[in-house]
């Protein structure tokens, strides 16, 4: 939905900005004191004001409906999830727990090798439950144009689906104390087959752990 709103909004914003700058530039050149004219004595344009106000209300109403419906579409659950993951934010790293398996991926975020990797399959609906173990964090994956805050004692849930494989950087986006700036994670989207074999290997490793 980001692109559906961002580009129309950017075009509208640039248009409005352009119009205002042009009118401003015109008035500064045309009505500068050096031209030896007198300032207009008029201080009301009632009809123009009313028409302009109506146009504004019209544009604002359109935008309001547009963004509200974009949000409704974006927040709608995608369907029956194939994979469910609980994300826990803590000071100062992440852990990812795969439901119905003993697999939990975590790290300390202290250096690049300690950044936890969230492995997900492409083309499948993934259901995330997001919680914090301490303060308010925020799970942000810029590639997915998506973030949500993690609260202590409350699960926020959302669905995501990835269409292409790859590794994407994510991070905490709500200031959460001293080492907020290193609270990173990686999301690795792999093919469903690769995901299944990864999860099986992880399950075996988890089971063999004492």
């Amino acid at each position: 939905m980001f692109g559906h709103v961002f580009w129309p909004y950017t075009i509208i914003a640039l248009t409005v900005f352009g119009i205002v700058v042009l009118v401003l530039a015109f008035s500064l050149i045309r009505y500068r004191a050096g031209r030896g004219h007198e300032a207009s004595a008029k201080s009301k344009h009632s009809v123009l004001e009313a028409v302009y106000a109506l146009v504004l209300v019209g544009i604002a109403s359109f935008l309001a409906v547009y963004v509200a419906s974009a949000n409704a579409a974006e927040r709608r659950p995608l369907g029956r999830p194939q994979v469910s993951v609980t994300i826990t934010g803590f000071q100062w790293c992440w852990s990812f727990t795969y439901h119905h398996t003993p697999v939990t991926v975590s790290g300390t975020c202290k250096n690049a090798s300690q950044i936890p990797v969230l492995v997900v399959p492409t083309h499948e609906i993934i259901h995330f439950s997001l919680i914090s173990a301490d303060v308010v964090h925020e799970w942000w994956l810029p590639y997915a144009r998506w973030k949500e805050e993690a609260f202590p004692g409350h699960y926020n849930t959302f669905d995501l689906r990835f269409t292409k494989t790859g590794e994407f950087n994510g991070r905490c986006d709500e200031y959460c104390g001293l080492y907020h700036d290193r609270m990173d994670f990686k999301l690795k989207a792999v093919t469903p087959a690769a995901f299944t074999s990864w999860l099986t290997a992880q399950t075996r490793r988890a089971a063999s752990r004492p």
Binding site: F2, V5, F17, V20, Y31, A33, E49, N71, V136, G153
Partner: protein
């Protein structure tokens, strides 16, 4: 020895003593105390920002430690919002509203003075956090719970931060009450509400929001206080979420408290240097009131990503703000079209305000869309957005007002040449500093990080160079003010050919403001109307001086002539 002889022997007081100034009930003295303190703090918290920008010039640099960086952005945000821009908003009201409405003083002057001392203690508390072992508060300016409780941010410095924010909230509340009551109850005869100058109107709506919003800040600070006494109260979800609701119920209106008086300043400057009455007065008053009303129900857009907010409702209300904002722009532009524009320093700042604030406003409408906020919330895009509103907007509006009213308040002229140097440095510095931040946010850089990935290096270097230019511009400002006091070029009563009543008395105005009376009030620009009437050969002197107050206006170098009506 007679009384006269006795008094002649007493030493004459040539200047006001410091003690007189510190206990004065004159609104001008209180206003200047607030404004002067706030401007000093502006330089302090600006220097903190420059240190951060120096640290950010390189991705992994540790010019200051991560802990100190966190304290610095907390102090920069808290300081600028609680102790600089909000106090300047209301300080301008304390100084100017009585002068604009022809009143001899402010309502409840002792409460306003008490507010000043509350404010000073707040500033001292916030900054003296540096003297504690753990340093000053470091939970950010909105200090979300449970981060700001004693489990996660222990230390006396954070306690002092909470006390400082509480006292700043009280000061804001006191000043809002004083300025609001002054405008509502102390206007000159015949000055109806719809004849108040637009700056005064901007103060009225500011104070309306102030009396509604500051108590909410006090409530939020009460929650943090409770959490610092017993953090176990904040282990479940609801209180932490409700803190955010309570805080932003203050936190959103306050961005308009930090905006309207500067719009008011820009409006006054545009009509004075455009030499005509403001076009669309009624529309602008309506827009301000609509703005204030809607702004009380948009706070949830700060919480779009909490997953626990009515996003669609707040998207609609926030988008609706484009209507009053658009109406304000109608006033700016339609006054300029057909004006006779003089490009003095105040006017330059006012003109730059128009496109620069527009960038902040348009990106604000973008951020009112949850779909965009799911990417931009907490990123540098937001940092760029609110610096365009608060710095490229409000601070430019403030400097428009500063250069405009400085001669009135001090009785001294500033240098036009240095003023223009200050202006151009600030325009370049502002845009070079903040434009790259939009790009950084779009590319995924979060705010409040001391270190960042190398891909953002170049953009950060550009931004830091811009910040250096801004630092330089403030040096020029300080030199200009210093030179003004050294050179002592006296300011006439009405140096800019003003339209409103503050230009109808001496510079600076005497105690009780209008010894010569005021021109008759027949509209929102009484002095302009009076000057027009005086030029009209068909009018009799009695018509011109309708109140018979014998008001005589002087544009010469001396103070306005004082001719009291015969008793």
């Amino acid at each position: 020895m007679t009384v006269t002889e006795l008094s002649a022997r007493l030493p004459k007081r040539r200047h006001k003593q410091i003690s007189d100034i510190l206990v004065s009930t004159d609104h001008k003295v209180i206003g200047l105390l607030v404004l002067g303190t706030a401007m000093v703090l502006f330089l302090v918290f600006g220097a903190i920002a420059l240190t951060m920008r120096a640290d950010l010039a390189s991705p992994g640099q540790n010019l200051i430690s991560t802990g100190l960086y966190n304290q610095f952005f907390t102090l920069h945000g808290s300081g600028m919002i609680y102790l600089v821009i909000t106090p300047i908003s209301l300080g301008l009201g304390i100084y100017l509203v009585p002068l604009q409405i022809g009143a001899p003083g402010i309502a409840f002057p002792r409460l306003a003075l008490f507010g000043f001392y509350t404010y000073v203690v707040s500033a001292v508390l916030l900054l003296s956090g540096f003297l504690t072992a753990s340093g000053p508060g470091s939970a950010g300016w909105y200090a979300y719970l449970p981060l700001s409780d004693t489990r996660y941010t222990p230390g006396k410095g954070m306690d002092m931060w909470v006390a400082a924010a509480t006292l700043a909230g009280f000061a804001g509340l006191f000043w809002s009450i004083c300025v609001l009551w002054t405008a509502l109850r102390m206007r000159a005869p015949r000055m109806s509400m719809l004849r108040m100058p637009l700056f005064t109107w901007s103060e009225v709506v500011t104070c309306l929001m102030g009396v509604a919003a500051f108590p909410s800040l006090l409530g939020a600070m009460g929650m943090i206080t409770a959490a610092r006494i017993d953090p176990r109260l904040f282990t479940s979800d609801l209180p932490n979420l409700q803190y955010q609701n309570l805080f932003w119920f203050y936190g959103h209106p306050v961005v308009y408290i930090m905006f309207f008086p500067y719009v008011g300043s820009v409006i006054e400057v545009i009509q004075t240097f455009g030499q005509r009455k403001y076009v669309g007065y009624t529309v602008t008053v309506f827009a301000l009131l609509l703005f204030a009303a809607v702004s009380m129900s948009v706070w949830g857009h700060h919480m779009f990503t909490t997953g626990q907010e009515s996003n669609e409702y707040f998207a609609v209300t926030s988008t609706a703000l484009s209507v009053p904002a658009g109406l304000e722009y109608f006033g700016f532009l339609s006054t300029l079209i057909g004006a006779k524009i003089r490009f003095k320093t105040p006017m330059l700042f006012a003109l730059a305000f128009i496109p620069q604030f527009l960038i902040g406003g348009l990106t604000g409408i973008m951020l009112a869309s949850p779909s965009l906020d799911y990417q931009f919330h907490g990123s540098y895009f937001v940092v760029a957005h609110f610096h365009y509103t608060l710095f490229a907007g409000s601070v430019f509006g403030f400097f428009a007002g500063f250069y405009y009213w400085f001669p009135k308040a001090t009785g001294r002229m500033l240098s036009e040449r240095l003023g223009k140097v200050h202006f151009w440095l600030m325009v370049v510095g502002t845009n070079v500093t903040f434009i790259p931040m939009f790009v950084m946010g779009y590319l995924g850089l979060p705010r409040r990080v001391a270190h960042y990935p190398a891909q953002f290096h170049l953009l950060n270097v550009i931004s830091s160079i811009g910040a250096g230019v801004l630092g330089l511009s403030m040096v020029v400002l300080v030199v200009n003010v210093g030179e003004s006091f050294r050179r002592r070029v006296p300011a006439p009563a009405d140096p800019w050919d003003g339209l409103t009543l503050e230009w109808a008395t001496t510079s600076p105005p005497p105690e009780f403001n209008f010894p010569a009376g005021i021109p008759p009030v027949k509209g929102f620009a009484p002095l302009f109307d009076w000057k027009q009437a005086k030029r009209d050969p068909d009018r009799t002197p009695e018509e011109i001086s309708a109140r018979g107050a014998g008001y005589v206006h002087s544009r010469g170098d001396g103070p306005a002539e004082v001719r009291r009506p015969a008793p």
